[in-house]
Symmetry: C2
Subunit: 494 residues, 2 copies
């Protein structure tokens, strides 16, 4: 039976992916410094095995044959994700993938060296090589999938997302934000004049911050028997659904950045821990794409973790662990701090979308051949000035050399961040309707009802629906910037 | 070129083994408690892949063809280990291996439950099943390898070891120890009467013990950039040569057991860290068997770590870390404590070999069909009385239910422990000749010369020689119990 063959293939791929996930998390947390070379070799060999097994030509026949078999609804859904996965995996010729991997890895290495020095001229030729291949890739994916080239790239990260639907929503959000950011800053300034910021600085022992982080993780629903918290240079959520590894980085002079980071990764972890167990070894059992994943992390970080109602409960917990007593009037200005900046990863939730929309616009033009890499510094600077009133023309390391995404050929990924923020806000709107006392629940440290809502509508669905379908099924309407705008206005516009 | 194919196969197997080694170490140290089931599934799938790839029928042809190719000495040695490995791996039919794995795993599970209750009757049928299959296994291995059945089992753990050579050496050692143990205990008693034991008890913070352990590891040669120390319930040395994971378990009332455990695992780690890098992905590049491995751990634990000269250097280091001041007269009686006991893993270096020889004798009879599982309690008790003057007839959990080896079908493994102790002593004799001031070196914390000696003669040799060849090449003579007896007499007989 062909379905059986696919099911067994799923178990084999799952074993390799399990190994890759744990080896990856281990590398960032517990590996000896000298272990990197052998680890990289082992992981690349394992990834190769997983790819070869998942992309084997006979699988196309198994999928065709399985579709003719007498299957139940879940199995049919599983087949359709097997197919989607297979097509995305096999639409590029092996020699192209090899060439692209080499080009990309060289560009990433160069980027690591050149960024510190802001050496745009030295970096440019490598980036040009990556962009040239990304255009080819988009073309090949587009033909295989029957999509426009940029859409075919996005399809890897968020199945079903289309520029035609996203661009207008981003346009709407952008024109809102270009006015809203200065307003929010003005409001913040006025408030600070009346109520000056009390610095949170002090000395917060790492062990106490860790205990606080674990307490918060557990409170918002992280299952500590199926995951753990450790330390890494770049925080992440990795591992496997039965053993989710989240990490953070501690500063001893300040606790809020680590705590918010932990809440963010906990949001990713909740999605993973609550995926449907019976489908774990099928593509169907995986989380639905990057935007949806980011919506779950941002939900915990922004909709829960920066919600004033949450802080009514959280403040005494923080005080108990860290031994300091802040008032709500002292903590909330830190939690809601807004600041125009050059760096995306340091941005707050108000300014962040403008960083993303800038990249979304530029990378569409790059893929379409309307913009060349050599013209990026000017194009970036122009948009940066228009959207945030800042210039990067003299510091390319704060401009188009800022992120690893382009050097590593991840075009079509950036939109996921802001889509995630919008989906999180849209989810919050829907939850406020379904659970009218949700703020009161947060204020008393109850997160079960909200988690049940999200488990039923999102986490348990795995990859059963495309991203737009899942948004609509979960929240009752298609992606709509109104919810995110309303959220920002309520929190920063008054 | 067939050699090339074997070389590539080596890289693939190495990647899977790398994953299995890290996943195994991770499971015991950092895995979330709920992650066990998925981890077991993943590891068994990966082990299956490694086995299928390493045992594929075409490999026999590659090995035959490669032998005809124009190869250098190293490559020829590599081929011969590829062959040895392949023959040992493929001499059992796949359906037998499956049946044996099921039987063994059921017996292990039952053992875990039954041992606590000393439920011999409940455990016996499962053990009988395992023994029956072990006899079949020995027969099949014997035919494939042209060896006697028990030798064919030992061959898996220590290539080249033969009962005909080992049994007389063990017999020699046994007749020595049966008299020596009571003498050593009498001498200890007399000394204690003059110089009563000062208990080492106190409160030793885990973090301080860990710092002490790391300092000792580094001092005796462990490369901390290619390995680490963590905590697990059962101490082990795992991971990969570029990232060796050793573990210990701390007691807060006592520090010596953990420190000695760390030194033991460090001995294993030194072997792994110093294997020939260029051969890392060939069977040739692996450590030569269990006896040799144990000889390296016991060298560090017993020949270095319990050597009075070592303690001249170590005592101030311990005192500095733990903040207590012992004299040599106070610490050495603990380091050299001898005690008759029922449990092998708790035994000291004087009594330990008698536990092993007892098992070696019994398991030979079990495999030969001269002894049945049902008769084990009586047979065990009789030997225990004869060798150590203790009875286990009423407590099978302290007798034949004591170890996991038999339930898990590892017959032929026990001799390695005592062979290791003898090889370590024989190595020490050779080193004393080649480095006459070795004790003075230890007393001043210098271990480089001894490590250079061992690196050149043992570690760098990988699996180039059979176990007996390696012993003879490294020490200048075949296995000889005289060195171990001399060692025990010098330390415990006066
Ligand atoms: Zn995230
Ligand atoms: Zn050992």
């Amino acid at each position: 039976m062909s379905f059986q063959k696919l099911d067994e293939l799923g178990h084999r791929i799952e074993a390799l992916n399990h190994a890759l996930a744990i080896l990856g998390a281990d590398e960032a947390t517990h590996m000896a410094p000298g272990g990197g070379e052998a680890r990289a070799e082992a992981m690349s060999a394992l990834a190769g095995m997983a790819h070869r097994q998942a992309a084997a030509p006979e699988i196309a026949d198994w999928i065709d044959a399985a579709e003719q078999e007498d299957l139940n609804g879940e199995q049919k859904a599983a087949i359709s994700e097997f197919r989607r996965n297979y097509v995305n995996l096999t639409c590029l010729p092996a020699d192209f993938v090899e060439r692209q991997t080499r080009t990309r890895m060289r560009c990433e290495q160069l980027w690591r060296e050149a960024r510190g020095k802001g050496d745009w001229a030295g970096f440019l030729p490598a980036l040009e090589g990556v962009i040239e291949l990304a255009r080819e890739e988009a073309q090949m994916r587009a033909e295989a999938l029957g999509l426009a080239p940029y859409d075919a790239l996005m399809e890897q990260f968020d199945p079903g997302n289309r520029t035609a639907e996203i661009a207008p929503v981003f346009e709407d959000l952008k024109s809102f934000l270009v006015d809203f950011v200065p307003n929010a800053l003005e409001i913040q300034k006025t408030k600070r004049a009346q109520n000056p910021l009390r610095p949170l600085s002090g000395h917060y022992a790492v062990e106490k911050q860790r205990e606080l982080g674990l307490a918060m993780m557990a409170a918002v629903g992280f299952d500590l028997t199926r995951g753990s918290l450790s330390v890494s240079h770049h925080p992440f959520c990795g591992g496997v659904p039965t053993d989710v590894r989240i990490t953070t980085r501690y500063r001893s002079d300040e606790f809020l950045s680590s705590l918010m980071g932990i809440l963010h990764e906990t949001g990713h972890a909740l999605y993973e821990q609550n995926l449907p167990k019976a489908w774990a070894h099928w593509p169907l059992g995986k989380a639905r794409g990057m935007a949806m994943h980011e919506s779950q992390s941002l939900f915990v970080e922004k909709q829960i973790g920066r919600n004033p109602a949450f802080w009514e409960w959280a403040l005494p917990v923080v005080a108990k662990h860290l031994g300091e007593d802040w008032s709500m009037d002292e903590i909330l200005p830190h939690v809601h701090h807004v600041e125009r900046g050059l760096i995306r990863v340091d941005a707050d939730e108000v300014t962040y979308p403008l960083h993303v929309i800038l990249r979304f616009e530029l990378e569409q033009d790059l893929i379409a051949g309307k913009l060349e890499a050599a013209d990026l510094p000017e194009a970036w600077d122009a948009k940066m000035k228009a959207y945030l009133g800042l210039s990067t023309i003299d510091t390319p390391q704060d401009g188009p050399m800022q992120d690893v995404h382009w050097p590593s050929a991840a075009f079509g990924y950036f939109p996921s961040y802001t889509l995630g923020a919008m989906i999180a806000a849209q989810q919050w709107s829907a939850i406020e309707k379904d659970i009218p006392d949700v703020n009161a629940q947060f204020a008393s440290g109850q997160f079960d009802a909200v988690n049940d809502w999200r488990r039923e509508r999102i986490w348990s669905q795995g990859s059963r629906w495309s991203t737009p379908e899942l948004i609509e099924r979960a929240t009752g309407e298609p992606l709509n910037a109104a919810h995110f705008k309303k959220h920002l206005e309520a929190r920063y516009g008054q």
